[in-house]
Symmetry: C2
Subunit: 431 residues, 2 copies
């Protein structure tokens, strides 16, 4: 006998977790496709050399790599971006540019196991590759807005910044090591102002830090106010000027496409290390500030740099699925059902009539499970355990009169021997 168990850091998803995840993915995929993003799939396993020397040092330490039957060094992918870069470099002539893709898939990182962090988790990315038009940036933001709206979310803000604005202000204030500055700024939320000052001191910066912090602290729910603030820095840095110009065009194109209350400029957003080169964004649920960003991304210029000399500009975003699911749950937007079905049909003595009735209900677009044995008590326990709101009970009387007895499991209200039409009306599925 083998003890049934999963590896540390890996987990099974039971129906109550898989159902909302699948519903969410389904909704997201629909949104992506409404904007013309097409799905692609890449293997879970790649040549190790494709994945090595990519991502952070941390990620490299966590890489699952091994030798396969043919003696090749292979590794499990740790994200969907490196495989995308490989994919684009490999297929760009077939694909044609620009290319819009989404990808949903599991990735693997042998992190130290900790609460809420898993070694296998699902990523959901969408990218618009091969065009420098700010229209692409606009569409990515529209997709974020539509995606969250379709999930039932109403209160959220997409916060936008531009990497060249940050580069520019660093230049103006005399910080030459921009990457390091951005890395420190990115930690502001975590380590506070004093922590930031300390870190700056470590790399030899002691002047103008208050000015830099003032700059990035500027925030207004109206992007026009922030744009006006930025313009007071005009003509001091080429980078900053390009950032301002991009943001202006971006907001012009975006006008009327999403509510202006759903978007603002937040100059403190840096999105980590050297990856992004243009507009960047994060998305926060207004009622769950501590959740962190549920969708982040931005524009990059160097996606395929390890595979091809050709520069390839693109813009993309990644949805934090687990975070978003946790948010939806906290906001009460997820029901705790363990079954996708609307109704459990229970037969008292004649399974044949139960299956026929179930077919009739399914033909009327109701999702139906039939309890496979004529055992009322066990079936009722089962309905209760699965979280069914409705059960249909079929006995001799129902069969004789070709009717249904419908019981609401929550309220206890029971409708005896009603006809299909009446039942559909009660369930809100009638015309």
């Amino acid at each position: 006998m083998i003890t049934p168990r999963t590896l540390s850091g890996f987990k099974d998803r039971l129906p109550e977790e898989s159902l909302p995840k699948r519903e969410m993915l389904n909704s997201l995929m629909k949104t992506f496709e409404f904007y013309g993003f097409a799905p692609i799939e890449t293997p879970h396993l790649e040549y190790a050399e494709i994945l090595k020397k990519q991502g952070s040092e941390e990620i490299q330490k966590e890489l699952y790599s091994f030798f396969d039957h043919g003696g090749r060094e292979v590794a499990l992918r740790f994200d969907l971006t490196v495989p995308l870069a490989r994919f684009i470099a490999q297929h760009k002539n077939t694909l044609g540019l620009p290319f819009k893709r989404y990808a949903i898939g599991n990735v693997f990182r042998g992190e130290r196991a900790q609460r809420g962090r898993y070694r296998e988790f699902t990523q959901c990315d969408f990218d618009f590759i091969g065009s420098e038009s700010l229209g692409c940036d606009v569409e990515i933001v529209c997709v974020i807005y539509s995606a969250l709206e379709h999930l039932g979310l109403r209160e959220f803000v997409i916060s936008v910044n531009h990497r060249q604005v940050l580069n520019g202000i660093c230049e103006i204030l005399g910080f030459s090591n921009v990457t390091e500055c951005l890395r420190i700024i990115d930690k502001l939320d975590k380590i506070g102002k004093d922590g930031v000052l300390e870190e700056f001191a470590k790399i030899g910066y002691t002047h103008n830090i208050a000015e830099l912090l003032d700059f990035i602290a500027h925030k207004d729910s109206d992007y026009k106010v922030t744009l006006a603030y930025l313009e007071t820095f005009s003509n001091k840095s080429e980078a900053l000027d390009r950032g301002i110009s991009d943001l202006k065009t971006f907001f012009e194109l975006l006008e009327g496409l999403i509510p202006s209350s759903s978007i603002c400029i937040d100059l403190s957003i840096a999105r980590g290390l050297g990856y992004y080169t243009g507009i960047i964004y994060e998305t926060h649920l207004s009622n769950l500030k501590n959740l962190g960003s549920v969708c982040s991304g931005g524009r990059y210029d160097n996606l395929t740099q390890n595979f091809s000399k050709e520069l390839m500009s693109g813009v993309g975003a990644s949805i934090g699925l687990d975070r978003l699911l946790a948010g939806l749950e906290e906001l009460g937007l997820i029901n705790g059902k363990k079954t996708p079905a609307d109704i459990l049909v229970i037969s008292l003595d004649n399974l044949m009539y139960a299956y026929k009735s179930a077919k009739e209900l399914r033909d009327n677009h109701i999702k139906v499970e039939v309890y496979p044995e004529s055992k009322l008590k066990k079936a009722m326990q089962y309905a209760n355990n699965k979280g069914y709101e409705w059960v249909v009970i079929l006995g001799e009387e129902e069969m004789k009169t070709q009717s249904f007895t419908l019981k609401n499991f929550q309220s206890g209200v029971q409708h005896n021997c009603i006809k299909l039409k009446q039942m559909l009306e009660i369930l809100g599925k009638g015309k």
Copy 2:
């Protein structure tokens, strides 16, 4: 620079392959959920001991196993059934029985690479576990029927047999090594009658083989005819009698649920080795006999035998996704589009108007891609490459009159400066 390439036996799916796969999976999942099957997810990586000594010798040789960062021997799953057994044994108290699940996921087998066979491929299984009711067997068959019907297939036959019928006839004819006999019978299609005789001779059987072959060759499109034939063997073997009785109950319950022309008894179906114990089935597309079974399965009694002493009866089936996709393509049920969008919007000079128009179309349930640059020629090439049927072209005139120019890319017909309502009518999206 690293050469961008995939491992031998692994492949990327470009949009033209991923789109129909996603549509197919979506349709299948909908069907599963209409019957109350819930999704579950298990990790791609398991303790190696869970996966070892399972499946055939072949499968074991092909296992991708290695040592992880913590020195644990781990392996990539080679199917979804062994993880299901582990899952059920581990969670049965939380889940409650019976339990209906579906699972769609990738599995890994380091097979010798050959045309059309991959080392990573997607499996799609659905199972009804923990009840011996023949109602479960009936529902699995109904799901197969509905699933294929919803994919647009009309001509297919589900062929049914019963393992105890085969056990029984072997007993009656004096073949004591039933497993070996079934293994040989299973190869009849491949090695022919002479091959079968040869193989039987090898294990010392020379008598009654013609009778056995006659028996399994019996076939009639009307299951009632075959049931009557089976009854001529009544009262000679307990196993055969149980098989006949099960099949009778099964067909009684199935009456009226699916067309009788879609199901028959085929006594030659053995479904391989020792796994199944009850009703078994295969599904063949009538116009593509050579494709092989697109959905196979049956009842088993020993799912969790390696993890728990408790016997656990279940019935399940597996859809051959790649085979089914190939079948759908051959039958012309897959379009070759490289984009999920219905329309490409092309702006001649004003991207802002293009995005606004796209929003209007999306609000009317049309999937729209906007070409992100105002370059007509490149955009038209793009539309052609992606297989778009329709493009919308927006210039100064259209913007002035708040209208659309709609062009059918296939026929070349162009509707100049039409209003939204008219356009929706042409696209068949009007009311």
